[in-house]
Each structure stands twice: as C-alpha cells, then as structure tokens.
Amino acid sequence: MQHVVVDPITRIEGHLRVEISVDETSGTVTDAISSGTAWRGLELVLRDRDPRDAWAYIQRICGVCTTAHALASVRAVEDALGISIPNNANYIRNIMAATLTVQDHIVHFYHLHALDWVSPVEALSADPVKTAELQTAILNAYRLDLKVPEEVNTEAYPHDFPAATPQYFAAIKSRVQAIVASGQLGIFAAQWWDHPDYKLLPPEVHLLAVAHYLEMLDKQREIVTPHVIFGGKNPHPHYAVGGMPCAISMNDGNAPINTARLAIVDRAINMARDLVNNYYLPDLVAIGVIYAKAGRVDGGGLAKTRVLAFGDYPLTGYKGTSSGGYFDNLLIRSNGVVEDFGMGVAKARFTEVTAEDLKAPENFTEGVEHAWYEYPDNVPKDLHPWQGVTKDKYTGPKTGTPTMWETLNEAGKYSWLKTPKWKGKLCEVGPLAHYIIIYTKAAKGLLPEPTWAEQMMLKQIEAVSGVLGVPAEVWMPTMLGRTACRCLDAQLAAEVNKFFFDKLIANIKAGDTTTMNEEKWYPETWATECMGVGLYEAPRGGLSHWVCIKDGKISNYQCIVPTTWNACPRDDQAGHGAYELAMMTTHVAVPDKPLEIAKVIRSFDPCMACATHIYNAKGEKLNIISTDPYRR
C-alpha cells in the first residue's frame, strides 16, 4: 500500500489537497481524502452590511465563476425583500449566466482539463497533413447541430471555424518544438508527460488539441463580452438588487444599452455557439470515443448513487424562490435528486426539490464531523444554513506540524469545507447531475410537455450514446461522462443565450425598456426581519445562497456551493463525498504519478475558494438563529 499526496492540485480555482492510499499491485485506491486548505471568511465579512451591496462582496468568492455568486446573491436578497424583477432584467441576467456557463466550460476543457488528456510532447510526433485530415474527419463525424427553434439568424456564415490545413498545424508544431527545445517549458514544465495515459490518443489528436488550446485562449475573452456590455467588466461585472443597472434606451447614443451595444452581444453569442459546435464538442467526442473504446469508464463515484440539481433559467421576471415562483417558471426543470442511476434508469429513483423543501430545517443541512469546526453540545449534528453555527477548531495534520503538513488525519478533522447533506445524505452536483436528472425524469414520464431546452438535452444524450456505442447509464456516471456532460451543457447554454437574447430584443421592440424595479430600493420599505434563498444552476452545479436581513442589515449569510457538495470531507454515517468516491473508483496505473487522480478531480472543475464558510477566529459561537423564520 502506498500513500500518495497531491498538493497543490493546479489548474483549478483555489487551494486543494488530496491524499490517497493505493494498492500498487492492483492500482485500486482504497481510501482518499479531499481537503480544502484555505479559508477566507467572506460570509463573516458580509455581516452588518447593506444587503443591496451583498452581490459585490460575495461575487469575490470566485473570479473563475464570476457572476455566479452575484446572481445567486441578488436572487436571495430579492426573495427576502419580496422583489420581482422586470422581464428585461431577467433576460439580461440569464444571458450573463449562460455566457458564463459557455465561457467557463470552454476554459475548463481547454485550459484546465485538456492537459490531463493531451500532451504537447506527444504532439511533436504528429504529422501536420494527417492532423488536417483528422480535423476534417472530426468535423464530418462529430458536429452535432442542435439549435433553438425559431431563431432569428443574424449571421451570414459561420465565422469561427477551425483551420484544417497542414500549414497551420505545421506552424503550431514548430512553435511547440521550439519551446521544448529551449528547455524552458513554462506552463508545460514538470508534468508527468511519460504517463501511459498520454499514449492512448494518436499524436495528431494531441497536436489538434494543443492548437485549439491556443486558439481558445485567445477567443474565450471575446465570448464573455456580454458581461462587459451589461455589467461593465469581467471578471466581476456589476449587478443591482431589483434588476440590472444597465438602462436601455433606443433613443440615446450614450445609453448603457442601445442598438450598437446589443450588436456586440449578438456577435459574442453567435461566436460562442460556433466555438462550441465547431471546436469544443467535436474535440471532446474525438477524445471520448477513444477512451470509451479503451474501456475507460471509471471514476463515477457518487454520481452512480445520488445527484442533485436546482434547475434554472426563469422564463419571466418571477417573484420569490421560497414562495415557489422560481420553480414554477423554469426553462430546465432539473430541480430534484436522482438516486441509484448506476443501477440503470429503470431502478433509479427521482425526488423533486420544492420551495417547501428549502425551508424545512432537516432537508438541507451541513455537518462538521471532519471539518475544522465544532458545534455546541445542545444543537443537532447537522444544521440548516439559517441556523448556521460556526466555531472553528483547527486541529492540524496527523503527522507534521500545524504549519507544515505531512499527512492529514482522515479519522479526525482535515478540511475547511463543511459537509452538506440532502435529507442526511451526500450528493454530487454539476452538469452531469443536471443531465442525469432530466434523462431520468423523461424516462419515467415525469417531464410533461418538455421545453425546447429539455428536448435538446435528451437529443444530446441520445447522440452521444450513439457515437460512443454505449448506453447513457454506462457512459454518464463516469469521469468521461462528467467531462462530456459539461460540454453538452456548454452547447445548451450557447443556445439558451440566443433564446433569451431574442426574447430581450422582442421585448424591447414591443416598447418595454424597464430594467429595474425600484419599489423596494429603500430600506424603509423592507420588513424589519426577513430571510431569503437564491438558487442558480451554476457551471459547477447547484448553488444556493441563504440570507437573513434584520433592521436593514445582513444578519447572517451562508452559501452552499457546488464545490462544497462535491469536495466535502466524509461523514461517518453518510459516507464519502463526490471527490473522495470518484478517486476511490478510479484506477491508478503508476502510484507515484497519479495522473488519473488529478484528472478525475479536474473532471469536477474544482472551485475551492467557492467552498468557503465563515469561521470565528476567537472561537466564539456565531450566527445562531434560533427560530426558523418560515415556521414562525
């Protein structure tokens, strides 16, 4: 048995450490721990602030999924204050959310994840002529054109198309050659390039992917221009409680949003669709087919047992989440939990998540058994976010010193992440969960009158199953399936973008330019005490923000974020979280070069800073809310 530590895990957001015990002879991982190793305490910083500013603070949880926390925050505060936002603001927010999803997934695949699958070193033996032929073949075989119904087409031809010429690939190859020859490898330095996994794909796939790595590094910035137009910048665009700050006027050249500004958004949306359809999806499928044929369908972990999503894209300006408005109004109704998908869709069980579930104190909770916190004796083992008691208890590592770790203590506390639970059980979240839930609901007849987006998801799954030649239940709950569903989610989001952009244009045409509901802008109009929850099906999965407002100030703020669901430490009753189980179901070929472990972890797209919770450095008890406001 070998104990292997990987710290830091790179090409992620934030600070993550994993430790595994591997049986060298079989390559089986017998135990794995996932530890969030940094704590910033942002939710504590939010206390006593103006709830109208919360989005700005809490957005700084993460600059990679920038916008995600701002959106969940304004939704939570609007739920608490009883504000419904204008249709235009809802459309614009949806465009910003879908824009994030496309851009984030593309950056994840090419810049954070690709180097687990492809290697610049392997690319050196590629033949540029054959690579050009491969590009053509991939486009012929793997372009899955699924588009929005009744779209308004503003582009004359596909502007963003991959080059399939030998000269282009020869130029990329010679650049990579020069870098390798210089010995100064820069970002490519010190990786396990001699790992056998890099031999699975032919050299031409490596060269093609390296070329697209570079192209996407240049193009990802252009996809995200809707954030710059609607929110002024990226990362960290601006929002407003009650709508959006970007006023619309077709009569003012100086207006934040007018025809000229919308034309920029239109171009970015079309570009994102082209990049996903012509680069991302074909590249992903080309790699995926080879892995699936090699029987590499491991790393499923918790996805086989339990997945959770909240659903998203409110169709109109809705009122409230905890009142049910959010769930009544969704383009994609994935709000719920699917259990036992790994046993086949026939045996899988679906449970809906409703507004009532959010309020019930026992449904959504967090525990701290293996996290560096402790709860007082007189409270339950698991607490609802509105009752969030947090008291830090840093216990250091198992071996080493508090400031210099050797190994962490799996029997005790070992992470700054709490352990979130649904009905006392652990869940995996993310695009994979989103797709498993829609697929299961449809199979069980629980998706009456599917929306165009839900239909598209089902068609995507069917198409990928066909290309891979394996049923959805087999390829979906795996490392590969997690990476593949993220790509499908990007394709979907690119069309969602277009859908809401067309709606925005139609609404403005009809004479509605309102972007803000300012009825409850001033604190005098607020209830003395109120609580709210904001949901968002973020790029990494179901995100929830929970806010308590008292006398015009934030009295408690909690986030249960996707990476907390996935990267959480174990629970003695509920078992392992998604990262740990995924590692424990992944075969490791070379224990001291655990590329597969890094790969399966990155298949989740970790966002560690997101997983933050509050702590109190003095060790005092914080944020005890003794009564549940919705049960009062």
Partner: protein
C-alpha cells in the same frame, strides 16, 4: 544545452519578419504607456533581453486576477505566455501539480536566483502563523518569503495582494494584509483593482520583462501611467457631472441618457485607475458606461467604505492636499448651479449636503 531566447529570436523562430517584430514593439511601447521616443529602447530590449522567467503565486484570492490576465486583448494572453515570458509556475495554467510541481518551483527560484519576476495574486493571511492559507503542505507566508527572496522584481496583482482586499475587510477573520510588509523590504509594484484591467496587467509585466526595471511608480508604488488619473478625470460622463445632469435612479431618464452616476454612489471621483481611458476590452466599456456606479475597487480600503450607494465625499481618504472633499465639493456645487432645470428642492438639499461635507 538550454538557451533562453529574446523576443526577437522568438519572432525569428516563428518565421516572422523584422517588420512584424517592429510592429509588435510599437504596440508594446504604447501599451506600456511610454512615449514614442522610447521606441528604440523597446526594440533594443526586445532584441537582446532573454525571455524573463515569471513565477506567479496565489495567496488568499479568487483567481479573478489570473482570469483577467488571460483576457488581455493586446498582447493576447497566448502570445505573452508562450512567446514573451516563461511562466514557470502558476496554479491556474501550469500543467503539473503536486510534488514535482513544488520541486520545479524550488529549481526555478534557485536557477534564476536574482533574475525572475514574482507575481503575487491574493492577500497574505497572517493570523495564527498563517494556517488559514495552506498550499503544498506549507503556509502561504512561507511560500511568499521563499519566492520573494530571489526575485528581481515583485508585482502585486490585484487589490488583495496590494492592500489585503476583501478578506481584509472588517472583521478581517484571517488577519489578511497586502504583501508589501512580508517580502523582506523589496520594492513592490502595486497593480490594484478587483481585478485590474487585463491590458494593465500584461502591460506591467511586459515593462518589467523588457527593461528589467520597474515602471515609473507613484508614491504608493502604482505604475503612474495606469493609476495617474482618477476615473472621474477621464470619464466620458464627466461633462454631465459638470453640467449637473445626474441619474437619480438606475432606470430613470438620466440613467437611460447616460448622465453622471455621482448621486447613485459612484466612486469615480476618488478612484485612481484606467477605466475611463483604457476601459475594458480595449475601449468597449467600464462599469460607469454600463450604467453601474464605480465601487472604487482599486482603492486601498474600498470594501469598508460601504454602503456603495452612499455617495462621495463621505468616503475617500486620499493622502495629499488634492482632497476630494474640497475640490469635488466646489465642482459639484458649480455643476448643480449650472444645471438650470434642477428643482429648487433638490438643489437645496444637495447644497446642504455639500456644506456638511465641507465641515467634515
């Protein structure tokens, strides 16, 4: 045998012409905010200086600065990372991880001792010996100390690294601070912003990379060319301020017409940054242009100068005599007087506020 190529050699290897190399140098000269008579020096440096080694480390942060960096439009991030610098250590982009990655860092800082550029993103968590920010089994405090020792230059990217940022806001649970006091007295180039503008980030590192010297800095260590003006001074909405034409809410006629956001809490008048002139995405927009008041994200203590809807000059604590309170108050008064259609009631209440501010 390893050779470190210069930018010119890199161009040669890629089969580019001298002409395109010189065009690249023109772009760099203007990007770095240098006057055209510096052009020959840029060319000289690009011809002869080896590609600089860059080490990029992360403390308490959100990776937004890294993300901003890769959004740079000119130069493109791919060109910077692959042709202009050797980015040997970066948690976001580096292929490697774990022990070999940490060993590589040690190798790099030994091999290029005294010549590498250290970029720091994120604050340093100082409380309880730094246990709140661990990486590679060590505290970030340890890493910063180690990496700073042999650095030729240190760039503090973002408001967290420059001043402590969001985690240092009240009650600052982790004892977070800017890095300046923890780098053994070396000068730090501060590039504040949450995040900084992409081209400002690439511009600063290219300046250090090409010249091997720090760009001209102001008293606070910020590059003068990017932080020399208040956003207010270069804001395209400034004429509306001067004319006393203000948006009163986020969606009134003034907001739609793109009038001044001062009354909605805009911090442009106290914020030194390039949002007004460079803007984001090479001139496309900045928060004010998109209708959102500036929150002053490049100011040292802006997170505790909330609520953001409260307007100036209640906040703003500039160190010099060029006080917002005085200068701005006069200007505002002029603006309000000049705005002939302003209602009497509004004007009276505004003038009262300005008087109060003067007393502060």
């Amino acid at each position: 045998m390893e050779t470190r190529e210069s930018l010119w050699e890199a161009y040669l290897k890629r089969g580019f012409s001298r002409r395109s190399f010189l065009k690249g140098c023109v772009a760099l000269t203007s990007l770095m905010g240098l006057s055209t008579d510096m052009f020959s020096k840029v060319v000289e440096a690009a011809e002869t200086k080896p590609l600089p080694v860059v080490v990029w480390i992360h403390g308490h942060e959100c990776t937004g600065c890294d993300e901003s960096f890769i959004r740079s439009g000119a130069p493109l991030a791919s060109d910077v990372v692959l042709s202009s610098i050797a980015l040997e250590y970066d948690h976001l982009l580096s292929a490697a991880c774990g022990a070999p990655f940490e060993a590589h860092l040690d190798e790099v800082i030994n091999k290029y001792n005294g010549s590498y550029i250290l970029c720091v993103e994120g604050a340093i968590a100082t409380k309880d010996s730094g246990v709140y920010c661990m990486s590679g089994g060590h505290t970030f405090t340890h890493l910063l100390e180690k990496a700073a020792k042999g650095a030729a230059a240190i760039i503090a990217y973002g408001s967290c690294s420059a001043y402590g940022g969001i985690q240092a806001a009240k009650p600052n649970p982790t004892g977070s601070a800017g890095i300046e006091r923890f780098v053994g007295g070396k000068p730090v180039v501060k590039v504040p912003g949450c995040p900084p503008i992409p081209e400002v980030m690439t511009g600063v590192v290219m300046h250090v990379a090409l010249f091997g010297t720090l760009p001209p800095l102001d008293g606070d260590g910020r590059p003068k060319q990017f932080y020399g003006n208040r956003i207010h001074d270069t804001c395209y909405r400034r004429p509306f301020f001067d004319a006393g034409m203000f948006a009163e809410t986020f969606d009134d006629q003034g907001a739609k017409a793109g009038w001044c956001l001062y009354k909605l809490g805009c911090r442009g008048p106290e914020t030194y940054n390039s949002c007004g002139n460079l803007r984001w995405w090479q001139g496309m927009s900045y928060p004010i242009q998109s209708g959102a008041p500036c929150i002053g994200c490049s100011n040292s203590n802006f997170w505790d100068e909330d609520p953001f809807t409260n307007r100036l000059p209640k906040y703003g604590k500039l160190g010099d005599a060029d006080k917002i309170g005085t200068a701005l108050g006069v200007l505002t008064a002029a603006g309000v007087v000049g705005h002939a259609v302003a209602s009497i009631v509004q004007r009276n209440s505004r003038d009262n506020l300005i008087d109060e501010e003067h007393k502060e």
